[in-house]
């Protein structure tokens, strides 16, 4: 029988994988999402259509399926081993799938936020001689951030829980780890994983609450 301490230690260890996947996905999908949002808003119609089609495919199919395809497709199609080998290959593949998936969701949030800023703000910047870049950075950006924070906090919280889907390609994240103990007749490790998620999401909720409060000083 494994001791309670050992089990909890292992759960902590495996939750590291969830956290790594979470932070890496955020790190890459936020800028990529902004890029996709600009693509979808492009005045160059083919680019806008292509981007919107891509977002439709990614949002229209299960993340689980995307993880499977991205992990298995290169091998099945004889593309070599772009993800490397062993456990790190699985983790890389999962990260790539998550980044693609979440950047598409984020792009829609960004697009809504950017298009929600009144056009008059842009025009005010223009007649004051600002460049497009200056208008985006100095005028639009903070208003966009304020508008999208609630939707972003939703999406980010969903991402925390979605990291458990990585188990589909045998990444030993916390749920998979806990489930192994049910074979030993132990059910509490599985239940306790909920606490890990609750605590981490609790922290995120506080962080987002603070951010919203910090932007409370102005109205859009």
């Amino acid at each position: 029988m494994t001791s309670v301490q050992t089990i909890i230690g292992r759960l902590f260890g495996s939750f590291q994988l969830n956290l790594q996947l979470f932070f890496l996905t955020l790190l890459f999908s936020l800028p990529l999402g902004l890029l996709i949002a600009f693509g979808a808003m492009s005045r160059f119609k083919p680019l806008a259509l292509l981007t919107k089609g891509f977002v439709w495919v990614i949002r229209g199919t299960p993340l689980l399926l995307q993880v499977l395809i991205i992990f298995f497709a290169p091998g099945l199609l004889d593309w070599g081993a772009p993800w490397g080998s062993g456990m790190s290959a699985r983790f890389t593949a999962a990260t790539v799938a998550f980044v693609i998936n979440y950047s598409c969701y984020f792009s829609e949030i960004f697009r809504g936020g950017i298009q929600g800023v009144p056009h008059g703000q842009m025009e005010a910047g223009q007649v004051l001689g600002m460049t497009k870049g200056q208008i985006f950075r100095r005028v639009t950006l903070l208003q966009v951030i304020k508008r999208i924070l609630p939707a972003m906090s939703n999406e980010v919280i969903t991402l925390v829980k979605d990291t458990s889907l990585a188990r589909i390609i045998s990444i030993k994240e916390i749920l998979m780890m806990a489930q192994e103990y049910t074979g030993q007749g132990l059910i509490w490790p599985l239940f306790s994983t909920g606490i890990f998620f609750l605590v981490f999401i609790g922290i995120l909720t506080i962080v987002f609450g603070r951010l919203e409060k910090r932007l409370d000083y102005f109205r859009v």
Binding site: G120, V127, G129, M130, F218, R219
Partner: protein
């Protein structure tokens, strides 16, 4: 030589001709009021001068310099437009202050950005200029307020200070009081009046007929994309020559 010369401006949106061969000029230090019903093209004209719309044809001169020869020369690049439009300032109907900045920052931001890398003016001088403008607008005690904390009339006065901060040669107003509650229009009109008294060159699109008559040196009446009638205010308002002007004015006299 007039400060502003506008010649043959045409603008269409798809099949709708919004401006048809618009010609007028404006002398240094004078105030020009443009009146007319909604949809007559007066706002589009103002937006063309500020390069927010690109005319299909026509020329714009300021101070003897040809700013725009639409339809003839190649379409101006964004960088060209950026500096040419600085000849004009624009005060919008619904202010469009930047909500995340204080009143003072709203006024200084664009000046600082333009001044960047040139170091012609110290930032402290920019702030001092902005404070002087806010003082002139009667807003000295509001420099640290945010736009949402101000009344519409105060916001519009900040917007006027913001436009003036760049020292435009011609200040344009696009129905500056139309978004305001009636009791707040007076404070904005008084500010515009005081600018006229200081001989600020102004182009004012307005629905306030009494104000236009009082403050303008010259009045243009527009209808369906053309200038129907123009002249000194006493003539246009007192003895309009055109039937369309008479009809428009009598509708206003009856209260809309």
């Amino acid at each position: 030589m007039p400060l502003l010369v506008v010649e043959g401006i045409e603008k269409r949106f798809d099949h709708l001709e919004v401006l048809k061969n618009i010609n007028f000029s404006l002398d240094q230090g004078k105030a020009l009021a443009i009146i007319g019903a909604s949809g007559s093209g007066k706002t589009t004209l103002l937006r063309c001068l500020n390069f927010l719309e690109y005319p299909d044809s026509g020329r714009i001169w300021v101070d003897g310099e040809l700013l725009l020869d639409a339809g003839q020369q190649k379409r101006l690049s964004e960088a060209d437009v950026r500096f040419r439009r600085l000849n004009f300032g624009l005060v919008f109907q619904s202010f469009h202050l930047f909500p995340q900045y204080t009143v003072l920052r709203n006024v200084t931001l664009a000046v600082e950005l333009l001044n960047r890398g040139k170091e012609q003016t110290k930032n402290s001088a920019i702030v001092a200029d902005a404070r002087a403008l806010l003082n002139q607008m009667g807003l000295s005690d509001k420099e640290n307020a945010y736009p949402h904390q101000l009344s519409g009339g105060q916001q519009q006065r900040v917007a006027i200070a913001r436009a003036l901060a760049l020292k435009p040669k011609i200040l344009c107003f696009d129905e500056p009081t139309s978004a305001l509650d009636p009791e707040l229009t007076g404070e904005v009109l008084r500010v515009v009046r005081s600018l006229a008294d200081k001989h600020t060159t102004m182009l004012i699109v307005t629905h306030e007929m009494a104000f236009a008559r009082d403050v303008a040196d010259h009045v243009i009446f527009m209808d369906q994309g053309i200038i129907v009638e123009e002249g000194p205010p006493d003539q246009v308002f007192g003895q309009p020559k055109e039937e369309r002007t008479r009809q428009f004015l009598s509708r206003y006299a009856q209260g809309g």
